[in-house]
Point group: C2
Chain length 193, copies 2
């Protein structure tokens, strides 16, 4: 398959971004990481901004995949459990997860200064909020949709905030997980009104 090297570049980009940040991504380092020439990067992705955009897409696809993996594996567990699992997925000390979270956070932060990234980012965020709202509706089926969405926005927003704290070493993993679990309780309890 000819998409081999292309994919290698995207995987390499995720790794380099997780290691150095978006701003620290050097084409030469990326080329070395992916085991290709710098020119090939330009062949596949017009320019630096191009790789950034495609890497963002790549990362959010990958995250979707491992999210749904767990969903399937969970089997007949209850909805509340599934929600918790899904949100806690982000807080694991596994290279792939850490890499994804770091890169996601970086891309999100870069979007503040690079409007071209905003479109993809907004789409991915919206989809995520929607997924979480769906899970919430399984837990509290009678809640009106707007309330579910607001809850999902708060939960995902919190996740992003805590994730950055975790990655910057300000928040131990177990504590982050605990805060997320409590936040879920808090949200679910108020949804029952």
């Amino acid at each position: 398959m000819a998409t081999d090297r292309r994919r290698a570049i995207l995987e390499g980009a995720a790794r380099v971004i997780a290691r150095r940040g978006v701003r620290g991504l050097r084409m030469e380092e990326l080329a070395a990481e992916a085991g290709v020439s710098t020119a090939l990067i330009y062949y596949h992705f017009k320019d630096r901004a191009g790789i950034l955009r495609h890497t963002l897409e790549f990362i959010s696809d990958r995250a979707d995949r491992y999210t749904s993996d767990v969903e399937d594996a969970a089997g007949p567990s209850d909805a509340r459990e599934e929600l918790e699992q899904s949100l806690l997925l982000e807080f694991q000390d596994v290279p792939e997860v850490r890499e994804n979270s770091t890169a996601w956070g970086e891309l999100r932060a870069s979007a503040i200064f690079e409007p071209e990234l905003r479109g993809d980012l907004a789409r991915a965020t919206l989809a995520w909020i929607h997924d979480v709202a769906d899970l919430l509706s399984c837990v509290r089926p009678t809640t009106p949709a707007p309330a579910l969405t607001a809850s999902a926005e708060r939960l995902t927003g919190l996740l992003e905030g805590l994730s950055t704290r975790w990655l910057s070493g300000a928040l131990p993993l177990t504590h982050a997980r605990e805060l997320v679990r409590e936040a879920i309780s808090v949200e679910i309890e108020t949804l029952s009104d």
Copy 2:
């Protein structure tokens, strides 16, 4: 006064950082923004890292100032109100606030890749969490301290997450403010158990 231009450089730096990020700060752009030559920047602040350090200091002094301004001005309003005010401070479309939030977010994001920054950041975060926990204890005086701290950690974490979304154009200001107000309600209600 000879500190005129020096100050102009710091103010310009705050503006440029808000526009381009810490990582996007270019000496030439800063010079233009402040209406001085690039050489003058080096004259007053040894090097790039020097301006960054001084600008961050400049910005956090400014933030302290306007935080306490509002606290004083509030007068004899109730504790709940004060908490809300204090947390919503971060979400205003005023250049100064935007500059501050941006710089804070940048700093937080950079800390992931630059461990030297972590110390100051951790201290500032802890102080913030503590302040919020104090405000919460005014609202719900009978709550045990650990529960207050956890609530404060969630609220401040959420704030950071939403702030990034706001700055990256993914979340309109009014909606952000609404989510924060709701989050406060949700947290306060569960503290009464």
